[in-house]
Structure formats: structure tokens, C-alpha cells
């Protein structure tokens, strides 16, 4: 069986603002808990699962939502998406997250579309 799922769709005609919940595992309970207060995370869009950014403009610093601990977000500008992701329409690109010493090469699949 072949399966494919995407965490996000990226409409190259709009700004792209992914919201991602980051959880970490407690050694006390074994449960995953929201990574409250997370900082220092970067996001970039890559053609491969753990690759580098397609372009430097497709690399952003992420910040935590003040009302939702552990939820980080960043906005990719529509102009950059049109410039660099149009060639990836109907294809998968990867939203790669990085945080020094903790998050290396963690990524989420995204389907590039154009709805506008």
C-alpha cells in the first residue's frame, strides 16, 4: 500500500504561516508535554527531508505563540513563495525545523499548491 500525507499545504499565492506544536517527553511521566518556553527554533523549506533551504529567503526564525505554550510559528512571504516554490507545484517540499542541540533535521511534509 502506498500512502502519502502532508502536514501542510502551501499555497504559493498567499503567505504561508505554519503553526507547529512541539512536545517533549518527560522522563518522570513518560508523557509528551508541550515544550513551553521554546526558543531558538528556525524553519526552512527544503526540497529534501533534511536538506538545506531552497533559498535563504525561505528560512525563518520561529517564535512561540504567547497564548499557546509549545506552539511555534513563522511566516513565509508570498513573494518568496511565488519566486522559489512555483517550480515545486504539486510536489512535496519539507518544512525543516532546527534548534541547536535539540532539534536537528526534524521535518514535516508540505504539498505545494496554487489556489489563488
Amino acid at each position: 500500500m502506498t500512502t502519502r500525507s502532508w502536514a501542510f499545504t502551501i499555497d504559493v499565492a498567499q503567505d504561508f504561516t505554519p503553526n507547529i506544536d512541539v512536545e517533549r517527553q518527560s522522563t518522570t511521566t513518560g508523557d509528551y508535554e508541550a515544550y513551553s518556553g521554546i526558543t531558538g527554533v528556525t524553519m526552512h523549506l527544503s526540497a529534501t527531508e533534511t536538506g538545506s533551504a531552497i533559498d535563504a529567503s525561505l528560512s525563518q526564525s520561529a517564535s512561540e505563540r504567547s497564548a499557546t505554550p509549545g506552539r511555534i510559528h513563522s511566516t513565509f512571504d508570498v513573494a518568496d513563495l511565488q519566486t522559489y516554490l512555483t517550480a515545486y507545484r504539486n510536489k512535496t517540499v519539507w518544512l525543516v525545523l532546527a534548534k541547536t542541540g535539540e532539534l536537528v533535521g526534524k521535518s514535516l511534509a508540505c504539498l505545494v499548491t496554487r489556489n489563488g
Binding site: M1, T2, T3, R4, S5, W6, A7, F8, T9, P18, N19, I20, D21, V22, E23, R24, Q25, S26, T27, T28, T29, G30, Y32, E33, Y35, T50, R71, H73, R89, N90, L97, A98, T100, G101, E102, L103, V104, G105, K106, L108, C110, L111, T113, R114
Partner: protein, 375 residues
């Protein structure tokens, strides 16, 4: 490092009959000193050996050959504080004969306490002949023998298996009343080795020796295990990595392994909580514990190796025909490293805040076909 046998320092006398003989010496704290005194009064009693008025020696063995011929005393001494002082050998009474030799040798890298040496073995005679003493030993140990004979200028030659550390005559003059002494050594081997040589004196010779025990490793040892990918922090492992696994006893020189050791190799996935139903989806942890198990007198004394044996266990009718292989694969699974601080450790999980955006599945039967998006 192997056992060292220091070149002897000699004190000779052809005039003094004692009962006290003195040798100026400088020792370091912790030195173990082997002391030999040779003369031709076979009834003499050696009362004490004292260094610097502080450290008292202990009697190891004495060997009087016949009556009024060759007499060899062997003592041992452990230096406490060290320094320069007099090593004083005191007999119960004057010897009545003037030819005396005192030899001292510092022994290094031996076991501590009373286990630094084994029981002495001796021999002697009053004829020209070759003689050996057989001493129980182990690989890495060292065997020493103090040899003496009457006849200062006559030859006294170590045999081909024996090395002379040093030799001294009480005088350069010929004559059977004089004394000649030597310190011999030989590398130890299991179960025993012979040490000796050719003596040339009808006035008597004596040979007293014993085994020196290598510093043992008791209890647990430590084996450094290096698994690289070196790095920390932001070093990412993406794709296949290689982990070189090197097992060995660190050391150099004459270090040998005596006795059987056991190295349990335990590899497993560690986990807490509801292990079993919890899937392992990221990095696992393989705890690798290497150590020398055991206690007592197991010693490490020459370059050793720890064979890592992987084999197909089987019994009964299970047959192995042809060449088989057991791949040993060590790798870091997945990508990413996580260290989120206590009480958090392990995986960081990411999910899109609003859940999956799209998911398509193609099961058995009809395939799914996607057409290009309209422009």
C-alpha cells in the same frame, strides 16, 4: 609497565668484621628494596636491617652452605618517607671473617603489601657446578636470585636463560676467603622458571631467589569505549553513519592478562513507562557495558585483547552449512538529537497545529491517479 629490578648498590668490606655494616643510600617513598648480605661465617645471625633509623626490614631467607663456607642472607625493606640515609645491617655478633658484601636493589612496579613476592627458593653446595632454582611464576612476573660464592676472582656466570643485573667482588684479590655476589633476573612464565648459573668455588656458593608479582588489577577495571560520531550539540546525523567499535585493554609494554576474565556485553533498548505497547519510532539507546569482572589476583600485565565473538548459537539438528555472516550494524537511527533538560529527555515530537492537511492512500486494487492542478 613491567617490573623493574634496579642495578644493585654494593658495599664491600675486607677489613671490618662487624657486627654493623652501613651503606649510604637514597630511596624514594614507597620503594621496595631487596637486600642481600654475603659472607663466610655460616653461623652468623643477622639481627636487623634498618634504613635511616626509621624503616625496618624483614627477613626473607638465609642460606648457609655447610660449615664456615658461604652464607647468604636475603631481606626486604619498604621505604616509608624516603630520603638519603644509612642502611644499617646489624649482626648479633662480629662475624669473625672480614669479607662481606651488602647488595641492595630497588624493585619497582610490583604488587603492594606482602603479595609483592612469593616464597623464596634456595640452593648451595661446595663444588664447582652449574645450579638452578625453579621458582613458581606467571607471565608478567619477574624472578630474581641473589647468588654468592667464595672466591672473589673466580667466575660465577649466569646461564643463558638468566640475566645478570649486577655483580661485585669483595676484593680484586684472588683467594677462596673472599666473596663474590651477583643479582640475577629472569622474566616470569607459568607455571615456573629456572634461574641459575655456573659457580666456581669449592669453598661454597649459595643462591636464594623468589618470584616478584606484578601489580594486580582487582575488582572492576575500566575499558574506554569509543563510539564516534564525534561531536555534540548541533552535529546532525543524516543518513547512514559508521560507528567504529574498538575493544581493547589499554596499556603498553609488558602488560599481560593472567587468568580468565569475563567481559559481559549487554546491548538493549532502555526505556521507561509502558514499554511494550509504546513503539520505538526514533532513536533508541543501546547501553553498552564493558568491564573486567572478577576479583582477587587477576592481573593485567601485557598487551591484551578482548575478542568480540559473534556466533550462531544452535543445538540439535540445526546445521550451519556454507559460509554464514553475522552483520554487526551500529548506527544512529533517524535524524536529530535531543537534549531538552531534566526532566525531559528523548524525542521531541512535532505535529502540525491543525493536524494533517492532506492524506491519500492507495490500497490494493484500483490505484489513485492525480491530475495536475489547473493553472
Amino acid at each position: 609497565m613491567g617490573i623493574s629490578v634496579g642495578t644493585p648498590v654494593w658495599t664491600t668490606s675486607t677489613a671490618d668484621v662487624g657486627p654493623v655494616f652501613t651503606q649510604a643510600r637514597t630511596f624514594a617513598a614507597g620503594d621496595r628494596v631487596s637486600i642481600a648480605v654475603g659472607h663466610r661465617n655460616t653461623t652468623a645471625v643477622l639481627d636487623s636491617v634498618v634504613f635511616d633509623g626509621v624503616d625496618s626490614g624483614a627477613h626473607v631467607e638465609n642460606y648457609p652452605t655447610g660449615t664456615n663456607v658461604a652464607h647468604l642472607h636475603v631481606w626486604e625493606l619498604v621505604i616509608s618517607a624516603g630520603g638519603t640515609g644509612d642502611l644499617v645491617v646489624t649482626f648479633a655478633a662480629a662475624l669473625g671473617s672480614a669479607n662481606v658484601i651488602v647488595g641492595t636493589s630497588v624493585i619497582g612496579s610490583v604488587a603492594s603489601g606482602s603479595g609483592w613476592r612469593d616464597a623464596p627458593v634456595e640452593t648451595g653446595n661446595t663444588t664447582n657446578e652449574s645450579a638452578t632454582i625453579t621458582i613458581g611464576s606467571e607471565s608478567g612476573d619477574e624472578v630474581i636470585g641473589w647468588a654468592m660464592q667464595r672466591g672473589a676472582t673466580a667466575t660465577m656466570v649466569a646461564d643463558g636463560n638468566t640475566t645478570e643485573v649486577g655483580a661485585q667482588a669483595s676484593t680484586a684479590a684472588a683467594g677462596g676467603t673472599h666473596v663474590r655476589m651477583a643479582l640475577w633476573r629472569r622474566n616470569g612464565a607459568s607455571p615456573d622458571v629456572a634461574i641459575g648459573g655456573a659457580f666456581n668455588s669449592t669453598n661454597g656458593y649459595a643462591l636464594v631467589g623468589h618470584n616478584l608479582n606484578l601489580v594486580p588489577v582487582n575488582g572492576s577495571g575500566t575499558l574506554p569505549l569509543t563510539l564516534g560520531l564525534a561531536g555534540a550539540g548541533t552535529v546532525a546525523v543524516q543518513g547512514a553513519g559508521t560507528l567504529a567499535l574498538t575493544l581493547g585493554l589499554a596499556g603498553a609494554g609488558t602488560v599481560a592478562v593472567q587468568g580468565a576474565g569475563t567481559l559481559p556485553l549487554i546491548l538493549g533498548l532502555t526505556g521507561t513507562g509502558a514499554v511494550g505497547s509504546v513503539p520505538v519510532t526514533g532513536d533508541g539507546v543501546l547501553a553498552l557495558t564493558l568491564g573486567l569482572a572478577g576479583a582477587g589476583t587477576v592481573a593485567v600485565s601485557a598487551a591484551g585483547s578482548l575478542p568480540l565473538v559473534l556466533g550462531l548459537a544452535g543445538a540439535g539438528t540445526v546445521a550451519i552449512t556454507g559460509a554464514g555472516s553475522l552483520p554487526l550494524v551500529l548506527s544512529l537511527a533517524g535524524a536529530g538529537t535531543v537534549s531538552t533538560g531534566a526532566p525531559y529527555a528523548g524525542q521531541v515530537r512535532l505535529t502540525a497545529a491543525r493536524g494533517p492537511a492532506l492524506a491519500f492512500y492507495a490500497g490494493p486494487g484500483a490505484a489513485l491517479h492525480f491530475l495536475p492542478f489547473p493553472p
